[in-house]
Assembly symmetry: D2
Homo-oligomer: 390 residues x 4
């Protein structure tokens, strides 16, 4: 039979990961670890299974259909088969809920992000809307808006797939990306007190979610970032039709292709004000911090996957008479990358632990400041390192 | 809201079909009908559901991937989501098995083809490999080859999805379509007595099946149709690799696009002789007759679907001040087509009943001759009528 | 080398067509025929060349891009490579202009449609917008609107590719297809007297044209077909941007896939009234008659191509020991189809000659009535026959 | 009108490039520069034009069709429209030939690579086969094989599109990439002295070329790199059919998607030995050095394009109240990247000048050694820098 390249094999990604396991053994009480380990083991098994499955079929991408056969505008987004199973896994393993589980106090975030770390690569970036869902739950809690919390939190933190909601976080506009103050979406208040949003969002990662948090400028408000308000909206009406939302296009990207990132127009989309009609940027900040942490954890997961595959390859590929792993230069390169990964892992899970303590109210003196400083740094560094590793 | 066309709605396709129901009431004993009616009702419901689902997603087609990422030739065919559920439905409702159910004697074929008729349009032409599977079971039974029957029949007639086999019927070659005597595939017998097939099949409708019946010319045999032998082969080895079969291409067709019709090469594909090393055409004839009957029944199903949709449209579409159905010329055209359909239905189910009686050994005098004469005629006529109706 | 099917070969389609050549020898003065024969020969050669080329590449379809990379709505339609060369051929061979060439009097239409007949299949249905362009020129001439004629006719009848305009004929709406009286597009007249169109056209075959004729109901006019007015519009502004036109979708069709048939919205599209603000259906009728004639001629061309390919196949394919063409039943089937084609050819070119005489003012007594009666019949019959032949 | 992002505009890429112009003014005699400047200006104009065109159509990729409609294996590769015009441009501007133009002595390479630098981005990586063509010409010249040189050089160095040949360089195999000694392709010598190649090449960038240089192990030769021989082959026979070459797949890549990189099998592909039946790696080395230089020059071109676009964006994008270019951090980042680019430019064109001198026989003492050392370093550094810049 003809020679082929070695097809990499991934074992259970929990059992096979000494970095994660030794960290959890140190970071979590033994009773808690024992309680969650079956879930971690299952997620590790599923990660291995997802890898095999992904190799056994052609890649799929989401598909936008704007019009149905009868001339109705529908803007239907068909997600990939893996995404269709995403909510069931997220609910079953509490990928969002675990981080808000009061029973585990300061450990809730460690528990959660260990799960996220194991699931990320298998999820085809379904972790992206989950991160925003987590961020939305966090921001709503901080908002103190009881009615919205009562409506949305049981959904965002649901552990049953048919109840689980995903949330978008719609920030980026054509004129205002990094400079959020240039946001051009306008919020109008009708005679009945109902706000509606009018504008265009240029990069919405989770338009498939049931709700979103977004920024808009109340009609008549001054320019600048401070005058923006935070709005809560639900994407569909009771019949499942879009609530004043038109999907213009799914972004054509080099990577994260399974993620249906959309460009949209808001065309009188009904929304609820979160807090006062200004200072929305401040109110959405807790969401950003949570999603940055997800970003860092998912960067770790990506790095580890790359390294594990590279190692597997190096063990099987023969060059110049021996396995690649036996070639000193290659070995050193891999070792250096593994070391970078481990350092990043410790930093990120240090931030995760800080977040847990701060949220649980068990933080010491400067923990809150440290968290504020380290979260964006950990996101930036792991992002760069993951790119360099890949 | 903007005007759109009326989106057709299909109710339960069993309850909504007086032609089928009144025929079955006449053709089947009440006890048998009562026993199978829950299945017919479920198939009718599923047909309605499949219609709605098909309208709610983009059309899918099968996909051939010849090489994996590591350079291995795999010739993987990914079928559509509906096809992936095909075996479960076929097994659950006995779409093949019901026709061979000795308990129902001469009625077994009526039972079976009522099911097939209800399922056909919902199946995305998965009825095509089922027809061949039925044909293969029928041909193997007639062959008298006990070993092959013991191996294959429990699979072809299985009522459990994980046991069910599908069979191909590989006849058409580039040089020999209608003129089967021009078949160029050669069968060689090895020193160990094992036959292998060498050649090319130009139109294989069910290459995704686990087995196939095919014609080949034993090495050294004379030219002409009589010298061809019938062979049984299994498409995969124990590890799931192709058994000396290469998939060249899936046909690019105007219709039946979900059906993965393939062009293939046989490259030392191991096979078993069915019967003697000649007269294979005669041995495969029972298969052809069964698949012709499937063809006629499926043509009926297609006609009915077209007519039901046309009627639904005519009831909702207004032209020149009233519903289309109220316009005499349109009404007359539809009525004529419905009449043609009903006549075809009675002919086809007359043939089905004949087939049941002949197979059950309860046929009268000329029934066998009548069956032989009417089967190809019913196939031809319904095929033409279905095209004209569509 | 492995056996393959015979790949059909087409010779020069003018020289190879005795039906056309003998007809032209009878129908045209020898001097005129001699003058145009080099063009006919070139079109026949090009038809043969186009066939070879089409076999040497993958099929192409037009592509709609709604948004550019920077967020601008562009609704760009990229046509196929053959279409990109369409205007050059249409201008060079006067496919529209020849029919209006006063020098040839009553023979102009025969000249023109001989060209169209030779070019149709090679054009990938580019003859469809050409037919409408011819229709628009004819309808504008009849309208007596001097300003519009001075503006548009030199473009529609241009013999230079860079001056040639194509015209659409936008009739079909969701609620009004056959029942044109149900047209829902509204025409509004602004304070400055400028009309704008508002509505949706459901089937626009030549949206890529520079202009279109279309029907709309002046605001405030009563219901019914009589109250519709005919409008002339130009599709692009001076910078090449759409004039109040949005392209919703290109139709996904079974055939004529190279033709970019669009569903569109008119969103304040500026337009000029042709004639009075009513009786538009009457005014667009000359366009319909001309396009019907094109339809009949193109159906002839399609039929001939099918028959020529079938004959070529029958000469090369061997079954049961001789060429298919030598099998009596097959020979008879082909002969019958050729006979039907020739009869259709004579009918259609009789209608073409009538049209030429009527337009040239050289018609006898009942010619105009005969033309009116035969045009739709010739279209219907050749359409049905072409489908049956294919 | 709705806000959109600024659509970048590129002016003439020769006139707009002070780095290139000042370098050429220093490096070339004024007479020579004046003589070639019209070409450089035209290439710069064409680069700007190609940018606009690429923005005005959907991206295209090459397409492999393995089988024709009649069952013949054809392995046809349809390249993109830009590639279809590639040979005409390469010939017209002497993109390969200029580097071998003896009239310009040591300046020939500077002339050539200024052209390549201007053309690269516009070419959709058509420079890749041109690089190999240049490498093949260089390697053949060094080989001293007069017959091959007489046959191939006038084609490889042609300045007429219809005479120009492209050459592949087929090195990489599944088992032997970096470790070329693991090459598994076997060369067999027939009774008539004709060599044929048997094996598989895993990464062939220019399989669309008319010829290729490749390595194979003569049957019976020992293992290891030294025993490999260099072979010259022509890809097509006189009828245009593949010469014992099967195209398995075009690689699915993240970038350079217009480049039809293929996986192929050599199945008795006729070939000519270049030099003796061993030491092929040494003989192909001149080719590698030339393609490395192309790589470095093309990396420069890519960097410059990225920077020019980034600068254009920074001039038009407003954030926090002024153009991005006015923000100190952004300005500094860009400046640093421009500086890196300029340094890389000087290094690469220093290597180019060295190459010219060495080839022209006008090199001083250590120039040849310096060239040998700097060529791979310049390739590595510019490759890394280009990735970092992008």
């Amino acid at each position: 039979m003809e020679a082929t390249q070695h097809a990499p094999h991934l074992p259970n990604q929990y059992r096979d990961d000494p970095v994660l396991r030794s960290h959890l053994a140190r970071a979590l009480p033994a009773v808690l670890l024992a309680a969650i380990e079956p879930d971690l083991d299952a997620l590790g098994e599923q990660a291995a299974q997802a890898w095999r499955e992904a190799r056994s079929r052609a890649p799929a991408v989401p598909l936008l259909t704007r019009w149905d056969a009868w001339g109705g505008r529908i803007d239907r987004i068909e997600v990939t088969p893996v995404w269709r199973r995403g909510a069931a896994i997220a609910a079953r393993y509490g990928l969002v809920a675990a981080g808000h589980d009061a029973r585990h106090g300061a450990h809730a975030r460690i528990d959660q992000f260990a799960r996220v770390y194991l699931h990320h690569v298998a999820s085809e970036f379904h972790t992206c809307p989950l991160a925003m869902t987590d961020g939305a739950a966090t921001a709503l809690k901080r908002s103190g808006d009881v009615a919205l919390c009562e409506r949305a939190l049981p959904r965002l933190l649901a552990r049953e797939a048919d109840r689980l909601w995903l949330s978008g976080q719609w920030m980026t506009e054509i004129g205002g990306g990094s400079d959020v103050g240039a946001t051009a979406t306008v919020a109008r208040r009708g005679a009945n007190g109902q706000w509606t949003l009018h504008g265009r969002k240029w990069f919405t990662s989770a338009v498939i979610g049931e709700m979103a948090l977004t920024l808009a400028r109340p009609e008549g408000a001054p320019a600048g970032a401070d005058a923006l308000a935070l709005f809560y909206l639900e994407t569909r009406d009771a019949e499942g039709r879009w609530n004043g939302i038109r999907i213009d296009r799914l972004k054509d990207k080099l990577g994260t292709r399974e993620l249906p990132t959309a460009e949209i127009h808001l065309d009188a989309c009904p929304a609820h004000l979160v807090g006062e009609a200004a200072h929305g940027v401040r109110r959405i900040t807790p969401m950003l911090n949570v999603t940055r942490t997800w970003n860092a954890v998912c960067a770790l997961a990506t790095m580890r996957r790359c390294l594990v595959l590279a190692l597997d390859h190096a063990r099987h590929r023969e060059v110049f008479g021996r396995a690649l792993i036996g070639q000193p230069l290659h070995r050193m390169t891999l070792a250096r990358q593994f070391a970078g990964f481990e350092a990043a892992f410790e930093l990120v899970f240090f931030v995760v632990a800080l977040l847990g303590r701060v949220e649980a109210g068990t933080a010491d003196g400067d923990d809150a400041l440290l968290l504020r400083m380290l979260t964006p740094l950990a996101k930036l560094w792991t992002g760069r390192l993951a790119v360099a590793t890949a």
